[in-house]
């Protein structure tokens, strides 16, 4: 049974006192199998958030159907098993991080001991333990995002729906969220996420659907979609110049074009994180928020 199954989904918006109608989602079919990390991609205004809200039952489709975990979208049982991180982290600013997790745990009817245990686990996982007693009003955008992610996980959901989870995060937070998503997916939780940052999607998603102007235009397995069947990439230890020449000769003998031989470059993200780690090790008592 698919975790999310949408068929012919369409949503129109009519502005009050105006005659024009905006079609946010138009004829969307969606099927997400258990344990998959599914990325919903598209430019601004392409209908990603509207699709998510319909999946949660917070918006009614103009036409079409959505079933979540075997129930109609918005069904109480479906909501009980779904965690959600909205695009805008509008949490209650007068609560602390730990109180926020406790509040959401209450909404899900978790017993006190479970709420406390889960909250502590998630505060550690999202690297928010030290800031757990600070009011959310004092949090940076990235910290609020991480608490938002933690609250979406408080009830150990079977389905996690994330709207732009890495929005506003610095590279450290970004890496942390991606690692957490991989961990969650490895535990069998199904994840539906949207993002503008295609590199993040490629890092964590098994499948993607690209939408444009409310319509699906491309979908499939990420590895398959990104693979270039016409080319091969080789990686090896460094070899002598003579050895490189012999290898190139072998390619030419096979009639294959050798496009280049160069040392592999690290990513900017890795470079940034390594620099931070080195600085932290050499100046452990330095300040900062």
């Amino acid at each position: 049974m698919a975790v999310i199954e949408a068929s012919g989904l369409r949503r129109e918006f009519r502005a009050p006192f105006r005659s024009n109608t905006v079609i946010a989602v138009d004829g969307l079919d969606l099927r997400i199998e258990p344990g998959r990390v599914f990325g919903l991609l598209g430019p601004n205004g392409s209908g990603k958030t509207t699709t998510i809200l319909m999946t949660l039952g917070l918006l009614k489709p103009t036409s079409g159907t959505v079933r979540v975990l075997g129930h109609p979208a918005g069904h109480r049982e479906a909501r009980r098993r779904t965690g959600f991180l909205p695009e805008e982290t509008r949490l209650y600013e007068f609560l602390s991080g730990e109180e926020t997790l406790d509040f959401v745990g209450r909404l899900f009817g978790l017993p006190r001991a479970v709420r406390r245990k889960r909250a502590h686990e998630l505060l550690e996982k999202t690297n928010m333990w030290e800031a757990r007693n600070r009011k959310l009003a004092t949090y940076s955008k990235g910290m609020a995002r991480r608490i938002g992610l933690a609250q979406s996980l408080i009830a150990s959901p079977d389905l996690l729906i994330l709207d732009e989870p890495t929005s506003g995060l610095d590279p450290v937070g970004n890496r942390g969220v991606k690692d957490l998503l991989r961990e969650i997916a490895a535990e069998g939780t199904t994840v539906l996420t949207t993002s503008h940052i295609l590199g993040d999607v490629a890092d964590v998603c098994d499948e993607i659907l690209i939408v444009h102007r409310g319509r699906p235009i491309l979908s499939g397995n990420v590895a398959d979609l990104l693979a270039d069947a016409e080319r091969l990439a080789w990686e090896s230890d460094s070899v002598s110049t003579e050895a490189r020449e012999r290898i190139a000769e072998a390619f030419r003998a096979e009639g294959a074009e050798l496009y280049g031989v160069r040392p592999p470059a690290t990513t900017l993200e890795s470079l940034f994180l390594d620099a931070l780690t080195r600085d932290k090790e050499s100046h452990p008592d330095a300040g900062g928020a």
């Binding site: 918006f13 009050p16 946010a24 958030t49 509207t50 809200l53 949660l56 917070l58 918006l59 109480r76 049982e77 909501r79 009980r80 779904t82 959600f84 909205p86 805008e88 982290t89 509008r90 949490l91 209650y92 007068f94 609560l95 109180e99 509040f103 959401v104 209450r106 909404l107 899900f108 009817g109 609250q151």
Partner: protein, 385 residues
């Protein structure tokens, strides 16, 4: 429901609710200590201010779920959780009601502490005895029908010096009630203990004018039989019920309506009702009460030769009387908040003055609330998913 209740109570505390309550407490306490010449007057004014602030708080506490509702929509946390919308609405409403009740009761405590420090006050269960209008009290004893358990009578009277009888008159008119004399001061209610007498099947109190050199007009609408003394606590609790219910109802509408337009429109309707209520208070105060007194005064002056007639009623011009009746009938449709919070218990004192103050405060609170609701409406209209 409990999550919403706890969240709202926590929010009220963390957003400065205790500080506001503290400031209001000190203000009411100061009024009860220094706000008038007599302790009854100070207590009356302080409780009216307490009730007014209670209503202002109730309006804002009740209207606040609109903001919460918007926040809920934007964060979607409760909506996306298993909590049902009605549970969320109920929790919000209960919290608003609790906060409003705590606010009102605490301010009544301030009034009581201030009044107790100034010598103590008495509160009574009150029954209205007369209808509207005014009658002239002459030297001939008049009988006022009262409930059997009446212990005291409260009334307001107006005195007019009769020119041809004025030589050698006393400084102040005196009326006799149950055989004892009481001085009359214009516009100030007098509360006196009475002996109820049997007259056929009726219970009556005997009242007469002891100063024939004065024409004394009794405001029939002000006649109250005070039947039972009540302690501060039931009095304050009774006074806190209406603000608590109002805040709870408003919060329920705001949170339960859900739709972008529904909540503000529902709240707007309630705000308009409050405005009408306060408007009625003004009309009763300014038109009916003052108008009646002025009318009575001019009638006495014009018909001075009839002032010695025993107990004859001073009548309005028929057309004006008819207009007042129509107006009173219209106003009966709208409950006056001032009347609601005096249900079952009332403080003796300068209640007319206080009533004008609270009417003004209701208008101000109503106008602010309407502005807040319209602002929320505008923001809601702009919201796009």
């Amino acid at each position: 429901m409990r999550a919403a209740l706890r969240l709202r109570l926590l929010e009220a505390r963390r957003r400065g609710g205790l500080l506001l309550l503290g400031i209001a407490f000190v203000a009411v306490l100061a009024i009860a200590l220094f706000g008038g010449e007599t302790v009854d007057g100070r207590y009356g004014l302080a409780t009216d201010v307490a009730a007014t602030l209670g209503y202002v708080a109730a309006v804002f506490i009740g209207a606040f779920p609109l903001a919460i509702d918007r926040e809920r929509k934007r964060s979607y946390l409760p909506s996306a959780s298993p909590v049902s919308p009605w549970q969320w609405a109920l929790g919000n409403s209960a919290a608003a009601a609790v906060i409003a009740a705590v606010f009102a009761v605490t301010l009544y405590v301030a009034a009581a502490i201030g009044a107790a420090a100034g010598g103590g006050v008495e509160t009574w269960a009150v029954t209205r005895v007369g209808d509207e209008g005014m009658f002239r009290l002459g030297p001939t004893p008049q009988r006022i029908h009262v409930p059997a358990d009446t212990q005291a009578l409260r009334l307001r009277a107006r005195t007019f010096l009769v020119a041809d009888e004025s030589l050698g008159t006393a400084d102040t008119a005196v009326i006799g009630i149950s055989g004892r004399g009481y001085e009359i001061h214009d516009d100030r209610p007098v509360t006196v203990p009475v002996d109820v007498q049997q007259s056929g099947d009726d219970r009556v109190v005997i009242i007469r004018n002891r100063s024939p050199e004065y024409a004394v007009g009794i405001d029939i609408g002000s006649l109250r039989a005070l039947t039972e003394r009540r302690s501060f606590f039931p009095n304050s609790l009774a006074a806190s019920i209406a603000p608590a219910l109002g805040a709870g109802a408003l919060a329920a509408l705001g949170a339960a309506a859900g739709a972008n337009l529904g909540a503000p429109v529902a709240a707007l309707a309630l705000m308009l009702l409050l405005l009408l209520g306060s408007l009625k208070g003004f009309l009763l105060d300014v038109i009916e009460y003052e108008g009646t007194l002025k009318e009575a005064q001019s009638t006495v002056v014009q018909h001075g030769d009839h002032t010695h007639g025993g107990g004859s009623e001073i009548r309005d011009h028929p057309l004006r009387a008819e207009a007042k009746r129509v107006l009173a009938g219209m106003l009966q449709v709208v409950p006056t908040i001032s009347e609601l919070d005096r249900t079952g218990a009332v403080a003796t004192g300068e209640w007319i003055r206080a009533r004008r103050i609270d009417s003004a405060a209701y208008l101000l609170a109503g106008a602010l609330a309407v502005a807040a609701v319209l602002g929320g409406l505008g923001i809601s209209m702009r919201r796009t998913p």
